[in-house]
Structures are given as C-alpha cells and as structure tokens.
C-alpha cells in the first residue's frame, strides 16, 4: 500500500489529521492522569513509611484515613440514592408530562442548579435546609430509630450527614437530569409507537421503551454525579463539624468528615509530615474515584451486551 501514499486524497488527509488530534488528546489525558497519580504517590510516600508516632494524633495512617474514606463514601452514596430517583422523575416529568411551555423553563431551572457555586450550597445547607429539616430528623429518630441509620439523638441544628446527603443530591441533580433528558428524547420513535400500538399508556410506554433505552446513559450520568459527590469539598466542610468517627447514624451531630473536606480544612495549617498525610488521603480518594469509574464502565459495557 506504500505506493499509493504519495497520492493520498484530501479527504483521507483530513481523516488522518483528525485521527492524530484525537489520539493526541487521548494521550494528553492519560499523561495528566499519570502525572497526578505520580505526584500523589511521591508526596504521600513519607506518610506511608513514617511510624505512627510521627503522624497527626499519633494514629496510624489507616486509622487516620479510614473514617474520612468512610465519610466520603457514605455522603456520596446517600447523595446518589436520593438524586438518581429524583433526577429520573424530574427528567421523565419534563420530557413527557410537563406542558410544552413549562417544560422548557423547568429544564433551564434544573440546569441552573449546576451553575451555583458550592459555597452557596454549603451556606444554604447550614442556614436554610438544615434547620428546615430538623423536624424530619426528629420524626425519623422517633419513629424509625430501629433502622440503624436513624438511631441516636437527632441533631438540633440539622448539620448532619442526612443534610449533607440532601445538599449533595441537589448539587448532582442537574447533571443526571440533563443527561437523562437528552437521552430520553432520543428514544427511537418506532419503539415508542410499538408500545403505544399495543395499547400502552404513556407511563407503560416509558417503562417499556424509554427507560431501557436510556439505562446505560443513566448509569453513566449517575457515575458522573457520584464522582462529583465524592470530591465535593465546600458543602461538606461547611455543614459538618467533623468528629473523626465511623458511624452510620445519619441524624446525629457526631459525623465523619470526608477526604476532600478534611484536606480543605487542614491544609492551610499543615506543614511537614502532616501535608504528606493529607496527600496520602488524597491518593485514597483518587483510588476510590478510579474504582467507581471503572465499575461504571464495566456495568455499562455489560448492560450494552445484554441490550445488543
């Protein structure tokens, strides 16, 4: 084939240029990612090797990071559990039920939620949402305390894991809603008509065609949201007064912090080995996020296989 190379038609040249650009972009991302991982590893190294006595509070690194990792996962999981059904409902409502005039406006409002800085969400959590849901906290603690999540003395300020979960859920709602709407509207018309032609109601049509069709995208969107919730700093930092515990109790005033929040809080006052410890915790967050994303890819690939 080398003999034809001299007369490469322009269209193929375009393909090559674009291919090279795409490849370059892909490699850049990998390089940046590897760079970040390397930085974290190198900077965390002193903390990984130092004896426990030299670390903050004289605790081992694992004992230090574990509650933070736990808090990170708990708050993010809570956020996803709240946000995904809500986003699904909002996306379905906007796409299929809202009158045309309202649908556009509603969509923009949800999108706007993404533009609010997280400091504002933090403040809103402390000043508005937290106090507002104190009664909810009390009700749950009174009536459902047999469920471990709702055990313990309900906080009087509402600055709890539950509030954090709700605030994070609102923060990741727009991305999940937007992607879901986008995909729902692409449901092939021949499928929706097939469902209607069988005598399906609108809701049955959505269940038979729209949701299965949008499922891989919904999973991707949820994982994007989860990624954001895992790394969210300000809102968690502001709402929780951290207590370095591992506790599933969502309603009490004693809560674990998250990795990102802890770094934001401690970094300005840290020096020496303390900085290395914080970076080591960052390394853990990096690993968690990586695992979450890879799991998401795997889940999507699998559900595509089933669909194919």
């Amino acid at each position: 084939m080398s003999s034809t190379e001299a007369s490469t038609p322009p269209s193929q040249r375009g393909d090559r240029v674009f291919g090279a650009l795409a490849k370059g972009a892909g490699i850049t991302i990998l390089v940046v990612l590897a760079g970040v991982a390397l930085f974290l590893l190198v900077e965390a190294f002193p903390a990984l090797t130092a004896p426990a006595s030299e670390l903050p509070d004289g605790k081992s690194l694992i004992a230090y990071v574990a509650p933070l990792a736990f808090g990170t996962l708990l708050s993010a999981t809570l956020a996803i559990l709240i946000a995904v059904p809500l986003a699904l409902a909002v996306a379905i409502f906007i796409s299929f039920y809202a009158p045309k005039r309202i649908a556009g406006t509603l969509g923009s409002i949800v999108d706007l939620l993404a533009a609010i800085p997280s400091v504002v969400y933090g403040l809103w959590g402390i000043v508005v949402l937290g106090p507002a849901i104190v009664p909810l906290h009390e009700w749950l603690a009174d009536h459902l305390s047999f469920i471990p999540f709702f055990a313990g003395q309900a906080s009087a300020t509402g600055r709890t894991m539950l509030t954090v979960g709700l605030v994070l859920a609102v923060m990741i709602l727009p991305i999940i809603t937007a992607i879901s709407r986008e995909v729902f509207l692409q449901t092939p018309r021949k499928l929706t008509e097939a469902a209607y032609g069988l005598g399906a109601t609108k809701w049955e049509m959505i269940r038979m065609t729209v949701i299965p069709f949008g499922r891989p995208a919904l999973i991707s969107a949820s994982m994007l949201g989860l990624g954001r919730a895992l790394g969210e700093t300000m809102a968690v930092t502001m709402i929780l007064s951290a207590a370095g515990v591992v506790s599933f109790k969502l309603l009490t005033a004693t809560n674990p912090s998250s990795i990102a929040a802890n770094i934001a809080l401690q970094f300005p006052e840290s020096s020496g080995i303390d900085v290395n410890v914080l970076i080591a915790s960052g390394l853990v967050l990096f690993a968690i996020t990586l695992v979450v994303n890879m799991t998401a890819r795997w889940v999507i690939a699998r559900s595509n296989l089933v669909n194919a």
């Binding site: 092939p188 021949k190 499928l191 929706t192 008509e193 097939a194 469902a195 209607y196 032609g197 069988l198 005598g199 399906a200 109601t201 049955e204 038979m208 065609t209 299965p212 069709f213 499922r215 089933v306 669909n307 194919a308």
Partner: protein, 295 residues
Amino acid sequence: MPSETEFEKVVDGVGEHSPLDLIERPTKPAERQVTEVASTIEVTNLDIYYGAFHAVADVNMTIPPNAATALIGSSGCGKSTFLRAINRMHELTATARAEGSIVMDGQDIYAPGVDPVEVRSKIGMVFQQPNPFPTMSVYDNVAAGLKLNNRKIKKAELDEIVEKSLRGAHLWNEVKDRLNRSGMDLSGGQQQRLCIARAIAVEPAVLLMDEPASALDPISTLAIEELISELKHRFTIVIVTHNMQQATRASDYTAFFNIEQSGQPGRMVEMDRTEKIFSNPTHQATEDYVSGRFG
C-alpha cells in the same frame, strides 16, 4: 394442540417444494383456521389535518370483517395518515387532528370519553420497519402487550399464548429454541413476524399494517402475505401497500387513494373487490394507477 403438529408433519411429508419451504407456512390454511367473527369498521366523513394542512379529505368507507382490505395510492396521498387515524395513533403527532367518525362494534372510537389506549388494544398495528423491543427477549416481546392488558396472567397461560401467537405468525419453529434470546438477533423478516406475533397476542379485533413487507426480501414478503391470508380468518386486516401484486395476492378489497395535485388533500377515489379494482375499476384515475399510467 398435539393434533396440529401431527397435521404439520403429514403435510411436510407430502409438501411440494418451493423457496417458501425455508419458512414455516400452513399448507392448507382453510382446514386449520376456524373463522372468528371480527369487527366491521365504518368510516364516515373523515377529515384529517396536520395543523392547517388538510391531509385527507372526506373518507367514507366500510371495512368488512374477516377480510383483508388493501389501501393503495401514490406516495403522499395520505394512506399512512388514514391508517393511523383508525386506531388514533395520529394523536401521537402533536399537530394531527381528525374529524368525522369511525364506528367499530357500534362504538364511535372518536366519541368523547373513549380512551385511545383502549382503542389501540383492540386495533393492533404492524409498522413498516420491524420494531421489536431491543431490550426484551423474543418471549417478552410477544408477552409485552399481554402484560399491559392483563397483569395477573399466569405463567402457564402466558406460555401458551406466546406459543400460539408465534405459531400464528409462522415463527415458532424458528425461535422455539431461543425464546430467551434478544429479539434483535433475528433476521429482518423474522423480526417482522415477531412484531406480528406481538400484535396478535393481545387478540385485537383489527390489525393495521403499514407496508409491513416493504423492508423485506421477496421470500419474507411472500411469507407475510401468506400470513395475512391466514390471519384474516381471525381478524379484520387493513394493509397499506405500494406493491400491486401484493394487493392482488393478499387482499379481498382494495381502496384507491389519490391526490389531485400537491397541496390538495388526499381522497379515497373508490373501494371495491380487489379483482374489480384491478380488472375493471369505475374511475379512470384508478385504471391509470393500477396499470402504471400515472404521473
């Protein structure tokens, strides 16, 4: 029904060989089919609009039961529009609107208070492009409509109806070993027969088909036509087709639609027994169209 399979075996042994042998077919439909009384559809003064555009004007026709009625006519004359109005599918198009009446079993399906969902479960539809639900298995595709209309159906009963419908669509032998595989794994012709099985599983009174074989190869097309001749013993069938041979082979009645010039609404020129339309139609326009002199 064990007797049915036995009958098939006997017939297979005797059967003459044709390309169609590749595909399941009933060799003697008349003996196998018990005629069930389907519904007559009475269309009166039907006008259909898309926004301000008058697409179909003043259709009056009686669609007889237990027969296949073909709708023919040049592209854009409103055949699909009319067909979709029969089960109120046109309402899925935001701008579409129909005026007039369509009476089935003594009930005007356009009357206020009539639920279009109800109408569509009695008047099934098969589309031009095969459209099985891609995330569902062959079995679930056939069962999809049943699960809608009768949620508490028993598994054994469901199995029975799925098998009966797949047999009815001449697909059973080809898919019985892969009922749990995706419907998308089937060939185009098989997918279309799957869609027919899905439509007949809910036992509609009427089956509307919009060019159901136009995306298929000649053998699959013949298979669909044979299927139609058989299904009309149980259902009232309305089929849109651009294929004149198909109309003559598969239908008992033919309605010719025409459009005088673009921008004008389409109208039904005449409807009669298929032989009459193709040999000795009343109107010149019909004569021109069926003999290929139009334009």
